[in-house]
């Protein structure tokens, strides 16, 4: 409607402009010609004066006129858009396609919606090899009609099972007669159907055949309306106009031109007055010609024959077969055989219960929505038949009956035209002889995939890959403590759960972030830096940045800093029908590749005599131990400190980077600049900027990301290093101090994905034989807090003193029997030295109450074991096993006899060794028996 108003406005404006122009062309009055000093203004002068007087802009008028000239091509044909819900349907799930037709004059519920559904594999052509359901109409090959039938059955039955219907009789009278152009186009005699050429905007009327009107002109002549004009040629005034000495000389010239085509009424050709109805020689038909040419090259036109056309309009409704019965015909019957074909209930006029008769549902009356169970590969389309808002040229009330296609793609073929006289004028009407089949041929091009862009979710999976941390560091040393990049791929439009998506990861490396990336995925896996690169549900990977010299040299990246890793993920989603969707994305991570590292230190504090406040100094390195082959849990935990240094609350940590070859240090802690002033530390490195201090004042679990940016003095490039600190509650683990007499309980084996088997030992339960002491040691986590601790041990409630710091060597007063337990309790009290607490207060404002002591406790058990099967595990253990295995009474007797034998042997040995002299004479009575 808006478009129509605009057209009328343009038309009115153009008419006004023409009026002005005509006024300018009115002959000047005689007074102006003969009175005074006669002036004959030119048309241009007149036009300019009028433009100025009425503020008419020439450019605007021209633009309007130009638009008016082509306004006939700017038609607004009906259109339809399909929207799906849900937009990312899953297989088997109900999906609703909703059609939104526009530019029809009918209400949407009065339009005919011919839906068609193409399942995967139901391509046009032979039905051989295709699933049986593809040939929905059951005849011939697979045609568009099969697609229509597949959809119409769903609409008409709404899922009803025809097995329960009785087709022996049809009592429901559910026939329907469709009107061309919509259900409400009743009592219209002429149904003019049109197709539009989207290229030139021309409407082509559907016809079967046509004949244009003809005139009885001889060969070489054409019927024409000839217009004649007389031109007055003024004389020349050479004397005084007030006293002319001679008369003016005027002459008259006649000119003719073809102004149009005659109309034909009955058998009489005629042209509007004052034009002459003539047959004109074709040689002058397009020129202006003289009176003599008029007399010699034109002749009178006496009779004519009127034009005619064979009107045609079609429906695109489904048929019983491609060439079979079309429904919605004038018969208005929908018999039992029809009901059986469509699966509707012959005894229920509205099987789908949507308010329409069954046949009306078959022809799609008012079916704005189409709901079906989605299967991967499904495509649908809709053709909407209705009456457009564009009027026809015919002398009746008709508007163009048209179709809207779901992709508005149906080019016009078999074009032609015919001319006819309408209201006395000869009118040329473009035509097309497109048949129903020709229009149906457009339907495959208008299929819409519910997953295609613009009509729902993309057929491509939407993936986003992210990676943390932001500034990871590669470790080229054997410590292999480089940062670990965690890359995650998130898919936003998958139909299947993550566990059913196939993720394929690719890691590439380059010395720049744009080009030259080399795939190192397999090398990372081989080197143990990446566990696996592909797998279902593998939505995240961990890349350990331990690319050493041997790894980087073949890539030509040794010494290159920084490196750039491009981590990409390809995700594939497969459906049971064989359809797959894929998506790919990647992220580029800048990796520091320097041999330098941030070293962490414990600290000490002292009073600054000048300021009267405490400040700190770096003491011993912390989080700096590395065990290439960790054998205990504490060693393994210590190695983890190289990745994320664990500190305790209220710990003052010093960090330093080797300044050699670097300058302009800039430290940040969690993004906040960190500086080292004289009030913080008097260390020289602090003043130089390569050492700073911070206080870990957060609660357990809080993470500090320390980052230092510096300039490489040799290359001028910036160097970025980072290290992570995590606040933990101090812990303590109890370990065996002598694994030959007390050892952690063996729980079983853990087999890694690569087949490597690890023994799993308990951290809370130890084992020992009946004999032997309990030798245990305490390991603090972090290890450096052990120096701040005071410790106490007890075994079965009896206090035990450490034999050496952190260790006990406890000999049970009474040996327990097999199966008994020793309960060992450990308690450690940790508190920062007073000086550091003062420093916390003076520098970081941490009050004393916040830096109070903390107590860590640990309880373990030592279980007295039955000796294992005799095995070569050391002589001490062997004998301990044997002795424990013997019954106590036997062992006691054995020891008793052995003692007595030893005693007798000793005395006898001494007795026999002692030299002996001859016996003296008997002495006193006590010697008598000797």
């Amino acid at each position: 409607m808006k478009s129509t108003n605009m057209r009328w406005k343009k038309f009115a404006s153009s008419a006004l402009s023409l009026t002005v122009i005509v006024q300018m062309m009115v002959p000047v009055p005689a007074l102006a010609l003969f009175g005074g000093k006669p002036k004959i203004p030119s048309a241009t002068q007149v036009a300019k004066e009028l433009e100025q007087r009425y503020h008419v802009n020439q450019g605007s008028v021209q633009e309007i006129s130009e638009a008016f000239n082509v306004s006939g091509n700017k038609k607004t044909p009906p259109e339809v858009n399909i929207f799906f819900s849900p937009t990312d349907p899953k297989e088997g799930e109900k999906i609703i396609a909703r059609a939104f037709p526009i530019l029809f004059s009918n209400p949407s519920d009065q339009l005919y919606y011919t839906w068609y559904l193409k399942r995967k594999g139901c391509d046009l052509g032979s039905a051989g090899g295709a699933p049986a359901y593809c040939n929905a109409d059951g005849s011939g090959g697979i045609t568009v009609n099969d697609w229509k039938v597949a959809a119409a059955r769903i609409i008409a039955t709404d899922g009803a099972d025809k097995a329960g219907f009785n087709y022996g009789s049809d009592t429901d009278s559910d026939g329907y007669r469709a009107e061309y152009g919509g259900n409400n186009q009743v009592n219209t005699t002429n149904d003019w159907c049109y197709m539009i050429d989207s290229n030139n905007g021309t409407l082509y009327e559907l016809i079967s055949s046509s004949s244009s009107q003809s005139f009885s002109c001889a060969a070489g002549y054409t019927a024409a309306c000839v217009y004649g004009t007389d031109t007055i040629n003024p004389g020349t005034i050479t004397s005084d106009p007030n006293n002319p000495t001679s008369d003016d000389t005027f002459s008259n010239t006649s000119e003719y031109y073809v102004a149009g085509t005659p109309s034909c009424s009955g058998s009489t050709a005629s042209c509007p007055s004052p034009m002459q109805t003539r047959c004109v020689d074709l040689s002058i038909a397009n020129t202006t010609f003289t009176e003599s040419q008029y007399n010699s090259l034109t002749s009178s036109l006496s009779s004519c024959t009127g034009g005619s056309t064979s009107q045609k309009c079609v429906h695109l409704f489904p048929r019983t077969s491609a060439s079979g019965l079309q429904f919605g015909d004038s018969a208005g019957t929908f018999g039992a055989s029809d009901e059986f074909f469509w699966g509707t209930n012959p005894n229920d006029a509205d099987t789908a219960d949507n308010g329409n008769k069954d046949e009306a549902n078959v022809v799609g009356l008012g079916q704005e929505t189409f709901e079906w169970n989605y299967q991967a590969g499904d495509q649908i389309g809709v053709v909407v038949e209705g009456t457009s808002i564009m009027s026809t040229k015919h002398d009746d009330s008709s508007y163009a009956i048209m179709w809207a296609f779901s992709k508005n793609d149906c080019p016009v073929i078999n074009k032609g035209s015919y001319s006819t006289t309408i209201r006395g004028y000869s009118v040329s009407i473009p035509t097309t002889t497109m048949s129903e089949d020709d229009i149906n041929a457009c339907l495959p091009k208008n299929l819409v995939d519910p997953l295609q862009g613009g009509q729902g979710k993309s057929q491509k999976l939407d993936i986003a890959v992210s990676a943390t941390p932001d500034n990871p560091t590669n470790d080229q040393t054997a410590e292999k403590t480089g940062d670990v990049i965690a890359a995650t791929a998130s898919v936003t439009n998958s139909s299947r759960p993550i566990s059913e998506l196939l993720y394929t990861w690719q890691v590439e490396v380059s010395d720049n972030p744009v080009t030259g990336f080399t795939d190192i995925t397999a090398d990372l896996v081989t080197g143990g830096m990446l566990e696996t690169s592909a797998g279902n549900g593998l939505d995240s990977i961990l890349v350990a940045l331990n690319m050493d010299t041997a790894f980087l040299t073949p890539l030509g990246l040794l010494g290159t800093d920084p490196l750039y890793l491009r981590i990409g993920s390809t995700v594939k989603e497969n459906f049971s029908s064989g359809v797959e969707r894929t998506g790919k994305s990647d992220v580029i991570v800048r990796v520091s590749n320097t041999t330098k590292k941030i070293v962490a230190y414990s600290t000490s504090a002292s009073l600054n005599a000048v300021t009267g406040k405490y400040r700190v100094s770096a003491a011993a390195p912390i989080c700096n131990l590395f065990y290439p082959n960790p054998s205990t849990a504490s060693e393994a935990m210590e190695n983890l400190n190289k990745v994320a240094c664990r500190v305790v609350n209220d710990e003052i940590v010093g960090v330093e980077i080797d300044p050699t070859g670097l300058s302009d240090f800039s430290w940040t802690l969690n993004g906040i600049p960190l500086s080292c002033t004289d009030a913080v530390s008097g260390d020289g490195a602090c003043a130089a900027g390569n050492r700073v201090f911070f206080a870990a004042t957060g609660g357990a679990g809080e993470t500090y990301t320390l980052q230092v940016n510096a300039t490489n003095t040799a290359t001028g490039k910036s160097v970025t290093l980072s290290r992570t600190f995590q606040v933990v509650d101090p812990e303590v683990s109890i370990e065996s101090a002598d694994a030959t007499i007390v050892w952690p309980k063996y729980l079983g084996d853990y087999t890694a994905l690569d087949g490597t088997t690890f023994a799993d030992y308990s951290e809370n339960t130890f084992e020992k034989y009946v004999t032997g002491n309990i030798k245990l040691k305490a390991k603090f986590i972090p290890s450096f807090v052990g120096g701040l601790s005071s410790r106490s041990w007890s075994v079965d409630g009896e206090p035990v003193t450490e034999s050496v710091p952190f260790e006990i060597d406890y000999a049970p007063a009474v040996a327990k029997t097999v199966g008994d337990l020793y309960n060992i309790q450990f308690s450690g009290s940790i508190i920062q030295p007073e000086e550091k607490r003062f420093a916390l207060r003076d520098i970081w404002g941490v009050e004393a109450l916040a830096s109070a002591e903390r107590v860590v406790t640990k309880s373990v058990q030592a279980e007295v074991m039955e000796p294992d099967t005799i095995m070569a595990s050391g002589p001490k253990k062997f004998f301990a096993a044997v002795s424990s295995y013997l019954p106590a009474s036997v062992l006691f007797s054995f020891k008793l006899i052995a003692t007595m034998a030893l005693l007798l042997f000793t005395v006898g040995f001494v007795f026999s060794l002692a030299p002996e002299a001859a016996p003296a004479r008997p002495g006193r009575r006590g010697d008598r028996l000797s």
Partner: protein, 217 residues
């Protein structure tokens, strides 16, 4: 090489055997998995009973009569038993009368609850303990090792026995019957050179003392 008299050599060997036997008895590790009383009895039998016999037979290669396991050398040795017992009981009576000997005097509760058990206890437990003491202290120490010192040996063995009690159990008033019996048995053994008589005397003293305290409680 300097030679020594055989008697001196034997004296030293005997003393070494006594020292080792007492040390072994005292220091032998107690097995917590076995009954403590049983272990004590076994250790007593081994070190105080069997070991002296083996020593005499294997090292000294003499008869067991050397440690008093033989008849009396006195015709009326048996008369010494009641004489010594009466004397000892008299001393005990005086001690009981003027000193708190009876306080905390130990008798097994089971024996105190039943006279037959008391008799069994006295016959077997007390009798065996008394016999072991006789074998070791009167026979092995007094007769064999310190026999050359005559009557003085009675007091030497008494001193060693007292030290033994002191180290093993501690000396309390309740040890008085044992000490008195040790001294009186020493005299009998010295007189008869048979520990059977001294054993009879010692057992009688202990039995009567136990009976007295059982009755008095």
């Amino acid at each position: 090489m300097t030679t020594m008299m055989l008697s001196k050599k034997r004296f030293l060997a005997d003393g070494l055997a006594v020292l080792l036997a007492l040390s072994a008895y005292y220091l032998f590790p107690v097995d917590a998995k076995l009954n403590g009383v049983t272990q004590s009895i076994v250790l007593g039998v081994a070190f105080l009973g069997i070991l002296p016999v083996l020593y005499v037979r294997m090292i000294r290669k003499e008869s067991v009569s050397a440690i008093g396991l033989g008849p009396s050398v006195r015709r009326f040795g048996w008369l010494s038993v009641p004489l010594a017992a009466v004397s000892a009981l008299s001393v005990l009576y005086l001690l009981v009368r003027y000193y708190p000997v009876g306080e905390g005097y130990y008798l097994p509760s089971l024996a105190m609850s039943s006279f037959p058990i008391f008799l069994l206890y006295e016959v077997f437990a007390v009798g065996m303990i008394a016999f072991l003491y006789e074998v070791f202290f009167r026979g092995f120490i007094q007769l064999l090792w310190l026999g050359r010192y005559g009557l003085s040996a009675v007091f030497f063995q008494f001193a060693i026995f007292s030290a033994f009690l002191l180290v093993t159990d501690g000396i309390f008033w309740q040890s008085a019957p044992l000490l008195v019996a040790a001294l009186s048995s020493g005299f009998i053994a010295s007189y008869t050179r048979s520990i059977y008589y001294s054993w009879a005397s010692g057992w009688l003293i202990l039995f009567l003392a136990d009976a007295y305290f059982l009755i008095s409680k």
